[in-house]
Symmetry: C2
Subunit: 202 residues, 2 copies
């Protein structure tokens, strides 16, 4: 179910370079022009925004072998968010024009890229609905279910060990930590979540 992205060897063939990023280092920033196609080789990247009030909103996390930041490569738009390494990471980067050539010359890969973007749009559509719904518990379950099913391909009850802190869930949902803590407890009571020494299972 994880949209497997472009083979690293193929990217290298086309001249992609592996860049190393330290934890908390920026890959790109909101408002910049897109110059490269990025694909996580190791580590983890998050895309985020900082709101007026200084609060962080996390669009999504990206692990190997997922790509990120493609949309502005296709349209004449600027990055709508920052990309930051959340761990020491290695990221493949390929020049925009070379990337577009790669797609032109490899229709199957183009289709995979489209698939990956389509899946992210699907996720965003769901999250927009949930965030607008003003129902914290439901909203949290949706993020977790999305990760469980669409990202990690799991299905059994409580088979998904959530590797996110309450704070990270808060950033993904636009809620506050305290609200997430209280909501997850309430969800445990309702048997929607399992909490085993502080870790969430869904």
């Amino acid at each position: 179910m994880v949209a497997s992205m472009i083979e690293e060897s193929l990217l290298i063939t086309y001249g992609a370079k592996i860049k190393k990023y330290k934890k908390n280092e920026y890959v790109f920033k909101e408002g910049q022009k897109a110059r490269y196609y990025y694909q996580v080789s190791s580590g983890e990247v998050k895309m985020n925004n900082f709101l007026e009030n200084g609060k962080e909103f996390v669009q999504s996390f990206f692990n190997a072998p997922r790509s990120f930041g493609e949309p502005p490569l296709f349209s004449d738009i600027l990055y709508p968010a920052n990309a930051v390494a959340t761990k020491d990471s290695e990221i493949l980067q390929l020049e925009k024009t070379t990337f577009l050539n790669l797609l032109r010359e490899n229709p199957d890969i183009h289709l995979k890229v489209t698939q990956a973007i389509a899946l992210r749009l699907y996720y965003k559509a769901i999250m927009a609905t949930e965030i607008s719904s003003q129902e914290p518990e439901h909203c949290i379950l949706r993020v977790l279910d999305y990760l469980k099913k669409d990202v990690y391909g799991l299905s059994g009850p409580f088979s998904f060990k959530v590797n996110l802190t309450r704070q990270q869930i808060a950033h993904l949902t636009g809620l506050r930590v305290e609200t997430v803590i209280r909501a997850t407890k309430s969800l445990e009571k309702k048997n929607e979540l399992l909490i085993k020494n502080r870790k969430l299972y869904r």
Copy 2:
């Protein structure tokens, strides 16, 4: 700036049919499997969800010549929202497999489709941030600016006559009508909006 979609003549060549929908008629419903590629020929379609409490959330409006509902054609996912004609409309529909063939045989068009999806993802990312921000005024301005710039390609101040009711804006932002009414008035005072006999200009 409006991503021009696939030429109608080409779609017809590939066997697309024009279907007529009455106002308020459903094109597809949440949870269904995707069977067709859809492109508005005339009229207007909206995609929406109904929340637990019966409230409507509108993902987006689609006018000619925009396509909608593609993401589930690429992945093994179900429609995350309903598609409803908001006016009497004519909509081109093309079988999923034929559509995918069309893309394979026409790389330039595949690229255009990818562009259109990428642009929608960009919009969703921005809206998710805004909706999460809990700042109604800012959120409203963002929807309007998106429509003004990215959909209609306008740029002068107050050059965009907003053809949405306060209620429609509410549905797009997840706010309540009363909040939108109060927020737009406040925005007029701050010179961010113009209100000329009840119509909004941005």
